[in-house]
């Protein structure tokens, strides 16, 4: 796959994730103020909730594959220290959420949310370091400083920004995960 195509594809996926997260936040806030919006939220939850755990597993898998592609395939972007912290949070989510989705075990949501929360916090810190490099150091490591932007799509979307989008979407999906209606359960 062409490097530029892959990066644009990941950026589009991240933007889609951001749109879903924003829509979820608007729906949640709106449901507090309006019964009509609350009904919409309930119907969305009824439709998405039973699939949300599996969707979160898919998001974690896509993020992991994207991360591995950027570092191991053609771009060969060297992961920095903060990137590795985010990977440490994202990669286990594939297994945790994948197994939970296969077993339909909603109890794994807490573990997933903790991992995704840690990853999201690290991504936010990484974004701040990119924006304000002096937060961590006054100089650049010639090999791979965390403030270096391997990708800068549309002037705002960098790799930690994509990671944050993934973590945030996983958190939203975990919050939305619901048991299926009784008649659909095995």
């Amino acid at each position: 796959m062409d490097k530029d195509v892959a990066i644009l594809f990941f950026a589009l996926l991240a933007t889609l994730a951001q749109a879903v997260v924003v829509a979820a936040a608007v729906l949640w806030l709106g449901s507090k103020a309006s019964t009509r919006v609350d009904r919409v939220k309930q119907s969305v939850l009824a439709a998405v909730g039973p699939q949300a755990l599996a969707m979160a597993a898919v998001v974690a898998t896509v993020c992991t594959l994207g991360s591995l592609y950027l570092s191991e395939a053609d771009p060969r972007f060297l992961p920095c220290r903060l990137c590795w912290f985010q990977r440490t949070a994202m990669y286990p989510l594939v297994v945790v959420l994948g197994v939970a989705a296969a077993r339909r075990d909603l109890g794994a949501r807490l573990t997933g949310a903790i991992l995704a929360g840690i990853g999201a916090c690290t991504s936010i810190w990484h974004l701040l370091v990119e924006q304000y490099p002096n937060l961590e150091s006054s100089s650049c490591d010639p090999n791979n400083p965390c403030s270096f932007k391997w990708v800068d799509q549309w002037g705002y979307l960098t790799i930690p920004g994509m990671a944050l989008s993934g973590f945030a979407l996983i958190l939203v999906l975990l919050a939305a995960a619901r048991p299926a209606p009784l008649e659909e359960q095995p």
Partner: protein, 234 residues
């Protein structure tokens, strides 16, 4: 002990529709990426890195040097890697390595310790956010406080990464209005290595005898830069 709560199977008609929708959106995004990313690859600009020759200069080693003094003239050694955490920089007193290369326009540039000129050598990387802050800061400062006649300011553009932020470095430096001579390091960053660079931006302060007076890495304030220039004057 409670049994795990059960989520629904993904085989319901509602669920199937959702998964088909998600898949369709991903396929569309993939097609959009293929269509719009075609031909958007970053081009390598000629002249941003060059061929450099390091060493091969008849210079006298300083206290930190390890060369053979019997011959009377020695090849200048590479400076040890700069460690900002060490108080006594072992490079102080060493003669700087002579390097020869070209600027972005192909003109010859030599940085040498045997030209009798005190100098401050600034190493920058176009993608480094600290360099992106330091260069305009110094540019503004030098507009109001030009370098003294007896100290030369030289720049080495190194660690060039095509496609990275601010590429090509020539465009970046010209955009900032940077007027000091710039030596384009080679792809292996030979000049940076010869001068012991460990972080960007990197300063090597050299006296009129061609010996290192001090080194520094990271962003300097204008006051610290003035101190470095004064140190070069001796």
């Amino acid at each position: 002990m409670t049994s795990p709560k059960k989520a629904g199977p993904p085989s319901s008609s509602n669920g199937a529709a959702i998964w088909i929708g998600v898949g369709a959106v991903i396929v569309v995004l993939g097609l959009v990426a293929v269509f719009f990313a075609r031909g958007s690859g970053s081009d390598v600009v000629e002249g941003q890195t060059g061929t450099v020759a390091v060493g091969d200069s008849s210079t006298t080693m300083g206290d930190g040097g390890t060369g053979d003094t019997a011959s009377g003239s020695e090849t200048s050694a590479s400076l040890p890697v700069y460690d900002a955490t060490v108080n006594d920089d072992p490079a102080v007193g060493m003669t700087i390595p002579t390097v020869t290369g070209k600027d972005f326009d192909g003109n010859d540039i030599t940085i040498s310790g045997d030209d009798g000129q005190a100098k401050v050598i600034l190493f920058v990387a176009h993608w480094c956010p600290h360099c992106q802050r330091e260069v305009p800061l110094l540019k503004g400062h030098l507009d109001d406080n030009p370098m003294p006649d007896d100290v030369e300011l030289l720049t080495v553009s190194t660690s060039v990464k095509p496609g990275a932020d601010n590429y090509p470095p020539q465009k970046w430096l010209e955009g900032v209005g940077w007027s000091a001579p710039v030596l384009a390091d080679d792809e292996g960053s030979s000049v940076a290595q010869a001068y012991g660079l460990s972080a960007f931006p990197y300063f090597v302060v050299v006296d009129g005898d061609g010996k290192v007076v001090e080194r520094a890495s990271g962003e300097l304030t204008t006051e610290q830069f003035d101190d470095a220039v004064a140190a070069a004057q001796g």
